[in-house]
Amino acid sequence: MEKLTIEIVDHIDSANVYSELSHPQSGGICVFVGAVREFTNNEEVVALEFETYKNMALKEMEKIALEAMEKWELNKVLIRHAVGAKKVEEPVVVVGASSAHRTACFEASRFLIDTLKEKVPIWKKEIFKNKSVWVSAHP
């Protein structure tokens, strides 16, 4: 049974995440799913397009998972990010952790997604009707 699941995939299937994180010593499982929102600053988003530097992204994701396992007592950790074009309501990222008690998995999941957004080389382009924008590129 692998403790870590670190993946970059074309399509995220959220249905299996619970069983992937389930563990006989885990009383709590916390999962965060990031999905495409219909509006950004009141502008209608048609799709998001994700691109990655895959080697490095996987390395950074693993570092984040290992750091979480040092900070909290976790039985399992999962970080999965999608690439390519994603439409409204489609999941783009899933992170989660399972632990004996709930505080650890909640705090770890928040750490996983916050640190992923800060460090993992993945880039998101917002596609609007008449333009597209690389998110966060400019101040």
Binding site: F50, I113, K117, I122, W123, W134, S136, A137
Partner: protein, 80 residues
């Protein structure tokens, strides 16, 4: 020496890779590479941040570059 480009960096340069040929003067460090790029493509100076990865690890400006390194320009990330 090859430099991989992603996200907006690819759009700024107009291709997914920059090649320095044998005859070019190669940037000796990460800092040199950033200065060279920003001089050639002023748009890089307008980004929120600009990082460089050497062999798929974030590298500080002081890190030396050799032509066998895998070098990548990391514009502001926006995953999740």
């Amino acid at each position: 020496m090859e430099v991989l480009l992603f996200g907006i960096a690819k759009d700024i340069v107009g291709k997914s890779e920059i090649r320095f040929s044998e005859t070019d003067e190669l940037p000796g460090s990460v800092g040199d590479l950033k200065r060279l790029l920003t001089a050639s493509y002023p748009e890089f100076g307008k980004l929120s941040s600009l990082a460089v990865a050497v062999n798929s690890e974030y590298a500080t400006d002081a890190v030396f570059l050799t032509k066998d390194d895998e070098i990548a320009i990391i514009p502001p990330v926006s995953g999740g």
